[in-house]
C-alpha cells in the first residue's frame, strides 16, 4: 500500500536515527502535542532509540482526555432524556465523568451509539425521525469541519432532530496557555499532523517568534516522527527556531481553506473547559447564533450537579506535561485500563494508557 510501508522503512528510520545521534548535542526537551504521536512513539519504541540528551514529553493532544468532567456529565445527562439517541466517537463512551460514563448510561438503558463520523450520526437522525439524535462533538480542528458539514447538511435537508453538543477545542491557544503557566520548559514541539492538515503550519509561528521554540509538524509513522525530530534537532543546534513541516503529504502551510471555511461558517471561537487545566479563553468552538437550533446545549434543558474529579488522579498534570504517568500514585495500582480512574487511562491515545500498554518506553 502507498503511504504506510514507505514510512515504516527500517533503513530510512536507521539513517535518520544516525543523523540525529551525530548532530544532537544540546539537551533538548521536546513535547509531542498529539496523543496519536505518543502512541506511535511508544509503539515503535522510539524513545529508546533517541540519544539521552533528547527528552520526550507528552502533551495535551488527546481529545478524549481533555474533555472536562462537567462536559461529560452533560453528555450523560442528555443520554438519559427520553427519546434521545446519543451518537459518539468510540473512545468517548468509556471515559468516566463525575459519577458515570456513557458506557454505563448505555447499560442502564440510554441509547448510545458509536459512530465513525458525524455523517453517520446524521444518517441515524434521518432513519429515526421520531427520536432526537445528539452528536457529542469532541476533538480538535481535525474533526470540527466534518461536524460543521453535518450541521450544514442537516440545515439543507431540514433535518430537525439532529443536534451537536459542541465540546470542540482548538490547538494553538492551549499550547500558549500551557507555556504561559510556566510549569514546563520546552525546546521543541512536534506539532499535530491531522490538526495541521486543516489549520496549516502558520498558526504555530508565534511559538518560534515569541517563545523561541522549535516546531515541526509530523505525521504518525515512525519515519515521519524521526524526520520531525531531526528537523527540531537542527533548529535547536543552530539556535534558529522556526516552523517546519515533516508531513508534506498531508499538510500545507495554509492548511485546508475549504475545511476552515466550513468550520468558520458554523462555529466561532469561545472559551473551553479543559480537564486538568480549567477554562481557557478562546480555546474552543461554539455555535454561531444563526446555527443555534443545532446546539444541543441550547436545545435541551440539562442540569448537572457540580463536577468532581477523582481523588488522587494527576491527569491534569500529565496533560500539562508537568508529570508523567508513573509519577501518579494510582498508576498501575488502582488505576488500570480495566478500571480507569482518570481519562488518560481510558482513551487509547491517553498518556497513561499508552505507558501502561507499551511499558515505560524501555521495552520492559
Amino acid at each position: 500500500m502507498k503511504f504506510v510501508e514507505e514510512y515504516r522503512d527500517p533503513e530510512l528510520g536507521k539513517k535518520l536515527l544516525d543523523r540525529i545521534h551525530r548532530r544532537s548535542r544540546k539537551p533538548a526537551r521536546l513535547m509531542e502535542f498529539c496523543g496519536g504521536h505518543t502512541v506511535a512513539i511508544f509503539k515503535y519504541g522510539l524513545r529508546q532509540l533517541l540519544p539521552p540528551n533528547i527528552q520526550m514529553l507528552s502533551g495535551p493532544g488527546c481529545p478524549v482526555c481533555v474533555t472536562a468532567a462537567a462536559d461529560l456529565d452533560k453528555a450523560i445527562a442528555l443520554g438519559k432524556l427520553p427519546g434521545v439517541i446519543i451518537t459518539s466517537f468510540g473512545d468517548m463512551v468509556r471515559v468516566p465523568g463525575s459519577r458515570s460514563s456513557l458506557q454505563k448510561a448505555k447499560a442502564e438503558g440510554a441509547d448510545v451509539r458509536v459512530v465513525y463520523s458525524a455523517q453517520d450520526a446524521l444518517t441515524i437522525a434521518r432513519d429515526n425521525p421520531s427520536k432526537s439524535v445528539v452528536f457529542i462533538g469532541i476533538g480538535f480542528e481535525t474533526t470540527a469541519p466534518t461536524i460543521a458539514a453535518s450541521v450544514l447538511q442537516a440545515e439543507k435537508e431540514k433535518i430537525k432532530n439532529y443536534s451537536v453538543l459542541s465540546l470542540h477545542k482548538i490547538c494553538p491557544p492551549i499550547m500558549k496557555a500551557i507555556l504561559d503557566l510556566g510549569e514546563v520548559r520546552l525546546d521543541g514541539i512536534i506539532c499535530p499532523g491531522h490538526v495541521s492538515a486543516i489549520i496549516g503550519s502558520r498558526p504555530y509561528q508565534f511559538l518560534a517568534n515569541e517563545y523561541h521554540i522549535a516546531c515541526a509538524v509530523s505525521g504518525f509513522e515512525p519515519v515521519d516522527i524521526l524526520l520531525a525530530v531531526d528537523l527540531l534537532v537542527e533548529q535547536i543546534e543552530s539556535g534558529e527556531p522556526k516552523v517546519e513541516i515533516a508531513y508534506r503529504r498531508g499538510v500545507k502551510p495554509e492548511g485546508n481553506p475549504a475545511a476552515l471555511k466550513l468550520m468558520d461558517t458554523v462555529f466561532e471561537v469561545g472559551e473551553a473547559d479543559w480537564r486538568g487545566i480549567g477554562i481557557v479563553p478562546a480555546s474552543g468552538l461554539q455555535f454561531k447564533k444563526q446555527y443555534e437550533q443545532f446546539d444541543a446545549a441550547k436545545k435541551f434543558d440539562i442540569k448537572i450537579s457540580p463536577a468532581r474529579e477523582p481523588k488522587g488522579c494527576i491527569c491534569g498534570a500529565v496533560l500539562r506535561g508537568v508529570s508523567t504517568p508513573p509519577d501518579c500514585k494510582l498508576f498501575r495500582k488502582t488505576c488500570t485500563p480495566e478500571n480507569p480512574i482518570g481519562p488518560c487511562m481510558v482513551s487509547s491515545e491517553g498518556s497513561c494508557a499508552t505507558y501502561y500498554e507499551y511499558g515505560e518506553g524501555d521495552g520492559r
Binding site: 504506510v4 519504541g45 468510540g90 473512545d91 458509536v114 453517520d120 474533526t143 515512525p222
Partner: protein
C-alpha cells in the same frame, strides 16, 4: 409457508415441526435422521469436547455468516487440542421476525462447512424468542473429537527455545465484520478468513506429533493468545514485527481506524509453538495447505521475562505486547 419466523415456530407444534423438517435434509446423516432425544454413537480413544456460542453483528459478512462461523469455531477449538473433530450439536435461538430465507441460507452454509470439515451435525435444538429477546440469531454448537495417540497440546507446554508459527495474515475477520457494522461502514476488499482448520492441523501433526501449544487467535487476536501461552507456560515470548503477515488492506483499515492488527479477531488462523527442530518441517507442511499458504515463523520462546510478550519493532526497538482491554474502538482523529 410464512416468510418470517413467528413465535409459533418455537411452540413445539406443527409449524415448528415443518420448519425443522425443511432444513433437516441438508444436514442429514444416519445419527441425526433417527431424531431421538439424544445422539448415540460409538467413540474410541481420548475424547476432546468443547462448546461455544456465536453472536455476530451483522449475521452475514464478507466471506461468511454466523452459520459458517458456528461450525468453524467449534471444529477449530477441537482441532487446537490436536483432536480430529467428529460430531457437532447445533442449537439455534432465533429472534421473532427473522426472514426464513435468511435462516435457510445459514443452514446451507452450516451444511457446506460441516461437509468441508468432514463433521456431522448429530443433534440439535430450535428456540424462538420475542422480538428484542435476541439479536436476529444466536447459535450454540458443541463438538466432540478424538485426540490421536501421543499428542499432548496445551497452552502450558511452551519451552524456552521453541519456535512460534503463525498460519497466515492476522486481522482479516475482525476488519471484514467491522466494515459492515452500522455506523462504521467502509469499503474493504478483505473477506473474513473464517475456515475449518482441522485439515491444516492434521497436516501439521503429520510433520510432528510434538506440537507443544496451539490455539486459534479469535477474540483478542494474536496478542491475547501469545499472552495466554506466556502466562500459562511461565515463559517469555519474543516476536518480530516484520515477520507477522498482515494483509495490506487490513493494515490500511487499521491505520484508518487506529486499531492494531495484533488485537483483531481471526476465525481461520492458528498459532502454534513447536520445538525448534520440528519448526521447519511443520512450516513446510503448513505452506502446502490452502489455509496455511502465508504461514511464517514469527518468533520464539525465551526463558527471560517470564509471562511477558515482547515485540521487536521495525526499527529494532522493543516493546511489550499486552493483553487488550475492553472493546476495540476506533480512534477519533
Amino acid at each position: 409457508m410464512e416468510d418470517k419466523i413467528l413465535l409459533a415456530h418455537g411452540s413445539g407444534g406443527k409449524l415448528m415441526h415443518d420448519l425443522i423438517q425443511s432444513f433437516i435434509p441438508r444436514l442429514a446423516n444416519p445419527i441425526l435422521n433417527k431424531m431421538d432425544d439424544s445422539a448415540v454413537f460409538d467413540i474410541n480413544g481420548k475424547m476432546a469436547f468443547t462448546t461455544d456460542s456465536y453472536i455476530v453483528n451483522p449475521i452475514f459478512f464478507p466471506g461468511g455468516d454466523i452459520g459458517k462461523l458456528a461450525v468453524c469455531g467449534t471444529v477449530n477449538d477441537l482441532s487446537m487440542s490436536g483432536a480430529k473433530p467428529l460430531y457437532l450439536s447445533l442449537a439455534l435461538i432465533i429472534e421473532e421476525g427473522l426472514p426464513i430465507s435468511d435462516l435457510k441460507k445459514i443452514i446451507e452454509s452450516i451444511a457446506d462447512t460441516a461437509e468441508e470439515a468432514g463433521v456431522k451435525i448429530v443433534t440439535g435444538d430450535t428456540k424462538v424468542v420475542d422480538k428484542g429477546g435476541a439479536d436476529k440469531l444466536f447459535i450454540n454448537t458443541a463438538g466432540v473429537g478424538i485426540v490421536p495417540e501421543g499428542v499432548n497440546i496445551s497452552a502450558a507446554n511452551a519451552q524456552a527455545g521453541d519456535k512460534i508459527v503463525l498460519s497466515g495474515t492476522v486481522g482479516d475477520h475482525g476488519i471484514a465484520v467491522l466494515s459492515k457494522r452500522e455506523g462504521l461502514k467502509f469499503n474493504t476488499p478483505v473477506p473474513s478468513d473464517c475456515a475449518p482448520l482441522n485439515g491444516l492441523v492434521a497436516a501439521m501433526l503429520g510433520a510432528s506429533h510434538d506440537i507443544h501449544c496451539m490455539r486459534d487467535p479469535t477474540r483478542g487476536g494474536l496478542a491475547t493468545t501469545l499472552n495466554d501461552f506466556a502466562g500459562q507456560s511461565n515463559v517469555g515470548i519474543v516476536i518480530e514485527e516484520d515477520k507477522i503477515p498482515v494483509d495490506k488492506a487490513v493494515l490500511a483499515a487499521c491505520e484508518l481506524l487506529g486499531l492494531d492488527p495484533l488485537y483483531i479477531a481471526n476465525e481461520g488462523k492458528l498459532v502454534a509453538i513447536v520445538p525448534a527442530n520440528d519448526a521447519a518441517a511443520v512450516l513446510r507442511r503448513m505452506k502446502r495447505h490452502q489455509y496455511g499458504k502465508n504461514a511464517a515463523i514469527i518468533g520464539e520462546v525465551v526463558a527471560e521475562h517470564p509471562r511477558r510478550v515482547v515485540m521487536k519493532t521495525l526499527l529494532g526497538a522493543s516493546r511489550i505486547v499486552d493483553m487488550p482491554v475492553g472493546e476495540l474502538l476506533p480512534r477519533i482523529c
